[in-house]
Point group: C2
Chain length 117, copies 2
DNA sequence: TAAACATATGAACAAATATTCATATGAAAA
DNA sequence: TTTTCATATGAATATTTGTTCATATGTTTA
């Protein structure tokens, strides 16, 4: 009696296991997704665009983005938590600036993709 | 009678107008945010991670990501709409692969940021 | 010290979105 | 042609998330 190898719907375990070994840890994937999530909002992208030029205070960013200082403050907190911006205080004014060269690089790559497709 | 220049809470219009001229169009900002939004989900990031290695069918991706074929199919639609993946059909099986070198570049920059911070 | 101001923060609400479930479509096998 | 299978799709649900509003904090000016 001969036996057959079921070919049809059996997943290719060799292929899958090979890739499974190569895939990054779930934790890393999660953190990358969290990072890109920060870029995935128009208001935050506007803030980043503006900060690419120079450091700005909350009020100026609010004017530039047609938002309220409160909304901007909330979004700056998100950017801060993601380590994308840093700040310095000068009296009651708080100046924000980009914290990392990756921000510029990720921004540029995104822009290239959007402009080319 | 002398007049004073109000210094305190008056926004710096020169500075703001200068930056306003440099900022990208709202439409471009929006599209960039939409692009990054696609990267901003763990399931989609896993799919992208896997496709960085080689083309895969829906079923294999479902196994690799511990998701259902249905959930994966929905997410592949999102990736397709963002022009990040392409596909080819072979009978009833559909093979997906990355559509653009930018995907790899954006992915790598994100990974660098996460691993360094 | 009191008033004005810049920014931050918490709660509430509205909008966006990922997954699930049921079902549809279309292709290969029986 | 009937069944089985791979993938797709629509509706419903649950969760996440951005903004608003009211208020708090801390700093400067009157």
């Amino acid at each position: 009696m001969d036996f057959e190898i079921a070919e049809q719907n059996v997943v290719d375990f060799e292929k899958i296991n090979k890739i499974k070994k190569i895939l990054p840890q779930d934790e890393l994937i999660f953190e990358m997704a969290e990072l890109f999530k920060v870029f995935g909002d128009s208001t935050r992208m506007k803030i980043i665009s503006a900060l690419l030029e120079e450091e700005l205070c909350v009020g100026d960013i609010a004017v530039l983005t047609n938002s309220t200082p409160s909304a901007i403050s909330h979004q700056l907190r998100v950017l801060k938590q993601a380590k994308l911006v840093k700040y310095r205080k000068e009296g009651k004014i708080v100046y924000y600036s980009l914290d990392d060269e990756h921000v510029r690089q990720i921004y540029e790559k995104g822009r290239e993709h959007v402009e080319e497709v």
